[in-house]
Amino acid sequence: MNSIHFEILGIGLLGPGLTDWASAAPLLREPDQWRSVPTVVPPPQRLPATERRRAGPVVKASIVVADQAVAAAGLDAAELATVFASSSGEPTNCHALCEALAAPDRMVSPTRFTNSVHNAPGGYWHIAVQSRQPSTSLAAYDASFGAGLLEAAALCATRQAPVLLVVCDVPYPAPLHAKRPLSDVFGVALVLGPGSGVSLALWGETAATSCAHAGFEAVRSSIPAARALPLLQALANGVPAVVHIEGMPGMGLRVELK
């Protein structure tokens, strides 16, 4: 079994009742202290005013968690290659485009069309931090966190340099919400660096690790980006652990924290 090794240098987090890593880590350790309140996305200070006006919620939430993780890692954001992953991209924008295209005159806003690309969070981030480093944007339905982690770990191991991973999902409004019901906004960012504290391997034989706490498990199972929660709980506990992360059917990730 080949595995990839890396360290986690910084963490950003935004979700129901979770506002950043420093305040979330104690709640992840002691879930009974956690309260399920809707996610609040603060305005991302990193974005210039014009971009902040144009950007949708998935861009804003992605940039907020990215900034948290980069600050925690103490690295220069412009130096980091990036991996962004999301199941649904920018749902409100997609709904508005579909409505406009169903109307007789089909008047599409050019800004909405530009923002419809799945790599909008990555594009806005690299503009904001003035970075020409490589960036990719992935989607893998419910396995989007796992796909992003695999890509980021491979990039980190290949380049032997830190990589920023950002995974974020935002629910669709009606009527698409009925077709793809995500429960709330969830964003997680990890700065991966060369090292040996974490090892990751493809692993098809074990089901994904769930959260023991029913409230966290409800979040984990209802938002693709929140498939990160068992790993985040293990990181908050800070003791050796093995976590299985959801991948495509029959092929997940085995992550070992040493």
Binding site: C98, L101, S137, A178, M248
Partner: protein
């Protein structure tokens, strides 16, 4: 950042494509050799936007598997058409017997997936509740990852899979993702490529941005007025080693512009980095490249930025052309389509002419081929750039 070091060349053991030029490699090569476009002034579905389109015929006619019925949508039908060309699916089955299906990844690019299915569903919402019809299978059609899940299931593979969606560089970047995982020993082979299909979002969206032309697209022409949109599916099979490869992936360079969401950096600064990174991975000097397939969309700004970037890396004597005049801009499939064209160029010793070029823009200095170049080619590079400032360059080598 650490300097980029050369990679081990990666064998490409099969490839295929469907586009407006037809189904499979032979139809594509014949059109490239003859200088025949697949573009035509026409409507698509209910869209009448007064432009030339590159439409793939035949997707509606194929029989669909009952067990994958929910995946039935325009994008996955294009994917299925391509899987059936040039023995591609059979080659993947052979690779699966060699490596094991769980050791083969699926990494595909798309920008809009089968959003057409949702666009049509929005015209048929329940008048009282606003609900979408039951016939819409969002996850299997519209969802961005749909085509990777479909292809993985259709081929019976069990390895890792995802979609790369970085607009018009998507299906070039999948080559880099697959190369890394194979080099690290996590997988032994990968199905890569891209699929994008015509939909209202891109037809009306590019029109709203005033990037589509009413004329046929004319990359590098003094009078170029914008792009012509096309659709396509392209696949390649990458394997750790092979007795008889069809070509080699020598390098895959990636970069960002960090400049603007929908306009390239005017000097092509990010594009320069991607081309240089690809050459560094290939361990090649610029003068060792024999032909460059340009991104070349035919919009005034894109071609100008790319021309400067190409000049900075290669100078002005390298034979270049954009093949968007044949296929149209196939968006998330463009990188995969042009990778396949690069492999055809290497195999047949053909650098295709740039189509629809009447008079080269005097401000642009790249050496655009006016006639097909027939000579042995050892190294071919291909550029793909996208919204969000996403840049990729692939370098391919011939089988010696």
């Amino acid at each position: 950042m650490n300097p980029i070091t050369p990679i081990t060349p990666l064998a490409i053991t099969q490839h295929t494509l469907v586009s407006a030029l037809g189904h499979g490699r032979d139809a594509t090569f014949a059109a490239l050799l003859a200088g025949r476009t697949g573009l035509a002034p026409r409507h698509f579905e209910t869209a009448a936007i007064d432009s030339w389109l590159g439409v793939v015929e035949g997707g509606e006619d194929i029989a669909w598997r009952d067990d994958l019925a929910a995946y039935d949508g325009r994008n996955n039908r294009l994917a299925e058409l391509a899987l059936r060309c040039d023995g591609f699916a059979a080659a993947v089955q052979q690779a699966a017997r060699r490596w094991g299906g769980h050791r083969i990844g699926v990494f595909l690019g798309t920008s809009t997936s089968s959003i057409l299915q949702t666009e049509v569903a929005y015209r048929h919402r329940d008048p009282v509740t606003g609900a979408l019809p039951d016939s819409l299978h969002y996850g299997e059609t519209h969802d961005t990852a749909s085509v990777a899940r479909y292809v993985r299931a259709a081929l019976g593979l069990q390895g890792p899979a995802c979609v790369v969606s970085t607009a018009c560089s998507s299906s070039a970047k999948v080559y880099a993702s697959a190369q890394r995982l194979i080099a690290l020993g996590l997988i032994d082979a990968a199905v890569v490529g891209g699929v994008d299909s015509l939909c209202m979002t891109t037809l009306y969206g590019f029109k709203a941005l005033e990037l589509t032309s009413a004329d046929i697209c004319r990359p590098w022409d003094a009078q170029r007025g914008g792009l012509s949109i096309g659709e396509a599916a392209a696949f390649a099979l990458l394997e750790r080693d092979a007795a008889e490869p069809m070509g080699w992936l020598l390098g895959a360079g990636e970069s960002s512009d960090g400049h603007h969401m929908s306009s390239p950096h005017p000097e092509g600064a990010g594009a320069v980095l991607a081309m240089r990174a690809a050459l560094a991975q290939a361990g090649l000097q610029p003068q060792q490249v024999d032909y460059l397939n340009l991104h070349g969309t035919g919009t005034p700004g894109n071609d100008a930025a790319e021309d400067r970037a190409v000049g900075a890396v290669f100078g002005t004597t390298l034979p270049c052309s954009s093949t968007k005049g044949y296929t149209g801009h196939t968006l998330g499939a463009a990188g995969g389509v042009e990778a396949s064209i690069a492999l055809l160029a290497l195999q047949h010793g053909l650098a295709p002419a740039g189509l629809n070029l009447r008079m080269q823009d005097p401000a642009l200095h790249s050496h655009i081929l006016r006639e097909p170049l027939r000579q042995p080619l050892k190294v071919v590079a291909s550029n793909s750039f996208g919204f969000g400032g996403s840049n990729a360059c692939l370098v391919f080598g011939a089988v010696q």
